[in-house]
Symmetry: C2
């Protein structure tokens, strides 16, 4: 079947093309469910680390605000919608567009928030993560992972595929720390929601975190949950479990960028048999990011994990806030790539980049109306 | 379509047959999702009120244990499975059987538990209910109702129908209090998990509760959420919202007995437009109960709400614990009637009372093995 499958122009593939086409042909035109796992790590409140919020403190509100925006169409925990400095809208606008066009069911999972969303959420008994520089950021990582496995089993029942994703500001730094502790990353290749990726700061914080945890690069190669416990965030533990729990039953689309790379690294180490049953679903913006290298990151984790990305292009958008995505801002988050890939898959290609862009414009006009 | 629809022998209908057949023909052979809303009310710990647990204190563990049993296939919060005095198993065994045969996806919602299940649950920010005799049992009833509406919207997206249900020991007493405060019930017609329905005690407690709330029979006819706030439990508020939120999109099967009657009374009063879009899904044991009158209860709430029940019969079962259902024990709970009706509907009749009984026996043997 994979042989006869033609990838539509709205999608691109990087890495293991055979596995990507096998999964795509398996779920093409089928029904999926979307989940977004939100969490806080106090790492995001370290000045300079995260641009996912107007100030370091506001980055702690971004996950809850993204979740409220998806479920209610508006935010409750803060005024307006999460923006980067300069008024660039959260990637959740693309996520919303994809969910509207696909009609897919979706659920928010609270892996551990300091600012809890004002909506019904799946609860796993988690608490927010500490700054990784303390060296013991997620004390209950194993319990969160096990709850994640149960969630993966729950959401893969009576479904054709599952999309998982994240909203966790500061997450590229925790992801880098986990991947370095595991030794699957040895240099700073992670992305940033800003084109001015604060690489030196991130590298310094990660080095500090590994030292505080009493380990080094590759020091926790055989204990991925220990790596999450020491220098990760709650989102990584829960989502890694979801991959393992769900991929036993259905294919999984791992929606997101370098943050989700750490999730896939942990899942692949915890249960190598899941490799081949999931793929990363992301955006052209991330794959083409000159300041990060998701293709190398994923190849180093496991060459058997393909990347499928949506060819969204905001360069022709009349809105500067959206054009900024072409200048290197945001690029990914809140499963915007994964849901877009999912909407194209479930609609068997009826949804494409043009219809997605039209819906993003419709939503963005509404947002401007609200925040004006 | 309803004209041509033939109700299979595994199902029975009471009340508005036309609406029942309309809904049945609409979702026959279609895909549904099951939810069970668990909560505690300290009312169950009043000695003599509830038999849903070996002792008054253990009744507080029953909802969490039922939820763990459904999701994990075993209990964590207590040893063995929830039983009534005499070793009669929780109705969750029938619920499990129906879920196994239907393959339906299912989710647990924690409306407010003192004993929280050790599994991933949907959280609505609720806390356990106080004993209704205090007159202010559920302070956040409106918030819980609104979260319920959101949950109903979430679970009705991309589904053909929704089944809601409950596990809340002591719930027939809180249900009676709410229905009396609303004036839809003027005499004690509610059921009990014991054939020795402690009617006098329940009536006395309800009278005490109404007095403590400064109201009387029918005193809160126009304010159903106030009735829940004063003398109800958290489950009623959340599930009533779910009916209102989901029935806008898809038909709803309200799985349960007299406890769910209060839920339907609140929903029908909050949004009369939902009547005609949901039906009660229950068991032959409840409909035939000589110590309660669900048909009159539902007729008094609204003649437009039909009852569809599964004709399960444990009289030929070799197990006394199951035969006891025929002697008036348990009768309903944990959505056993609603999931059975749903399994028959989604399988277009391939699942019937015989296949359900075989699966119950298979599970019950396992339980005996575990608890021996």
């Amino acid at each position: 079947m994979a042989d006869g499958f033609i990838v539509p122009p709205s999608l691109g593939i990087a890495g293991d093309r055979e596995t990507a086409e096998k999964i795509l042909s398996q779920i093409w035109g089928k029904r999926g469910v979307f989940t977004c796992t939100v969490a806080n790590t106090l790492t995001s409140a370290i000045p300079g680390v995260s641009d996912a919020g107007d100030t370091p403190e506001l980055t702690l509100f971004t996950p809850a605000a993204d979740a409220e925006l998806l479920v209610l169409g508006r935010t409750v925990c803060m005024k307006g919608i999460p923006i980067n400095p300069g008024g660039i809208p959260t990637p959740a606008t693309l996520t919303q567009a994809a969910l509207n066009l696909s009609g897919m069911q979706y659920h928010i999972i609270n892996a551990g928030c300091k600012v809890v969303p004002n909506i019904p959420c799946y609860d796993v008994g988690g608490t927010y993560g500490e700054a990784i520089t303390c060296g013991h950021a997620v004390p209950d990582a194993r319990k969160l992972y096990e709850r994640g496995v149960e969630l993966g089993e729950i959401f893969s029942r009576d479904e054709d595929y599952l999309i998982i994703s994240e909203s966790c500001a500061g997450g590229t730094t925790t992801a880098m720390a986990v991947m370095m502790a595991m030794g699957v990353m040895t240099e700073n290749l992670v992305s940033s929601s800003s084109p001015k990726n604060p690489k030196e700061l991130k590298s310094r914080l990660v080095a500090e975190a590994l030292k505080a945890a009493g380990t080094e690069i590759g020091g926790l190669a055989d204990d991925p949950l220990k790596a999450v416990e020491c220098v990760g965030d709650p989102m990584i533990a829960v989502n890694a479990g979801m991959i393992v729990g769900a991929s036993k039953n259905v294919p999984v689309i791992v929606g997101g960028g370098t943050q989700m790379a750490a999730v896939m690294a942990v899942a692949a180490k915890m249960d190598p048999s899941c490799v081949g049953k999931f793929m990363q679903g992301t955006t052209r913006w991330l794959v083409n990011d000159p300041n990060s290298d998701i293709v190398k990151i994923m190849h180093d984790i496991d060459p058997g994990i393909p990347i499928v990305y949506v060819n969204m292009d905001y360069s022709k958008s009349p809105y500067e806030g959206l054009q900024a995505y072409e200048w290197g801002y945001i690029k990914e988050g809140v499963g915007c790539g994964g849901t877009s890939v999912g909407a194209i898959i479930s609609s068997a290609g009826k949804v494409d980049c043009d219809t997605l862009l039209d819906e993003v414009h419709r939503l963005y006009k509404g947002i401007l109306g609200i925040t004006e």
